[in-house]
Symmetry: C2
Subunit: 217 residues, 2 copies
DNA sequence: TAGATTGTTAATCGATTAACAATC
DNA sequence: TAGATTGTTAATCGATTAACAATC
């Protein structure tokens, strides 16, 4: 397995990495030790050429005439995705969604752990929710820096999103998983990934409507 | 404002429609009654040519030399996105995440309403959570059909995902917003939109790591 | 009419996929 | 060696964007 040094990974490829990684672990758990791109294609519903191309960005991970060694590639992706070491993230906004995500066991399957939460409501702060201490907003910078947290899950109400994002940037955070429908303005070196639940539902409903109209013709 | 009859809307465009719609409503609330593609571009961080192209798939929504009439286009998108009439959806799996989504006020800003929930746990069923009745799984088909529900939010544990999806398809559901990390196997006329929270976090962490490595060079 | 801005043509970019030579 | 499957070249597809004629 020869790895590549120079790496410009297309975004589309990067987004599929967790998928590959998860399935390789499933295979590994099942005791399978080799897999080829057609089987992967079948299981993941991704064209086999796309899979080979994706893998090839990282070097020659496979063996011609054989396929891929499940454990090798799994371990390679674990390292690539930083899953070989614990990543602590914080969560800001312990409302409905925030609470649910606190309880969501990210670390059950991955080495991601929510190690601190923050909220502006004094009824909530000072407690430990599901093993995670909930701090006041004024402790944000201190805790983020003390715990060397680089990634934050943002589940505050929409109208607070930008001002909290500013505080996060000030505290040194570089990655924000944004659950508000607000477009955050941040410096270029901060990566914002947005999950807009209403958008997802609306798009789904739109696709459905279109399919329906198509069907009526 | 001339609308188009024939419509093959690119997927990328479709996914931006809720964004446009939301922002047009914001403008409308602010009492603004005209907008042009550069201003939209500025606010939404989408190239103005992309915006004009997106809009043009739906006909000639604007006026040359003038821009777009906010109310007109807003209303047009409301119809396009089915937001001019109530859409009832169901939710299956009232665990942590399901509970949070039940309380998530989709209908506060849009005409989407969770009108029924289902769970397999008898401790939960039979109650009304946040105004939404929680039924047993055995009532699924009956309720889905009685309430003419076409879209379901799926927040069950991963291992139950496929079997529940089968039941949903059997009940006549055509759209599933899937929060499990499982790839669902469904007939061609069923649209599955997946939201994989762990994936999002892992991808974000990966991008960050890459940026960091880049920076070190 | 003069100025502004659309809607669209053409160019470009990025992602997917078919096909196959390289090679284990 | 023969058979299998990778890694990659070339073709295709879909999305974005620059540039501008059309036109309000």
């Amino acid at each position: 397995m020869k790895e590549k040094v120079d790496n410009v990974i297309p975004k589309a490829t990067a987004k599929r990495l967790p998928l590959y990684y998860r399935y390789l672990r499933t295979l590994h758990d099942q005791g399978k030790n080799r897999i080829n791109s057609s089987e992967l294609s079948e299981a993941l519903q991704i064209d086999s050429a796309t899979i080979r191309r994706d893998f090839s960005y990282f070097g020659e991970l496979g063996k011609r005439g054989y396929g891929y060694d499940v454990e090798d590639v799994m371990n390679f992706f674990a390292r690539t995705l930083n899953d070989d070491q614990l990543t602590s993230v914080a969560l800001v906004g312990v409302g409905n969604l925030g609470n649910a995500l606190l309880k969501y066991k990210f670390y059950q399957n991955n080495s991601i752990r929510v190690s601190a939460a923050f909220d502006s409501n004094p009824e909530i702060t000072g407690k430990i929710v599901d093993g995670v201490p909930v701090y006041e907003m004024k402790d944000l910078k201190e805790q983020i820096q003390a715990q060397k947290i680089d990634v934050v899950i943002l589940t505050v109400p929409g109208n607070a999103a930008q001002s909290v994002a500013d505080k996060l940037v000030d505290a040194g955070v570089h990655g924000i998983l944004n659950f508000t429908p607000h477009r955050l303005i941040t410096p270029a070196d901060v990566i914002v990934q947005s999950v807009d639940l209403t958008n997802e539902l609306q798009t789904l409903i739109y696709f459905l409507k279109k399919q329906n109209e198509e069907y009526l013709k």
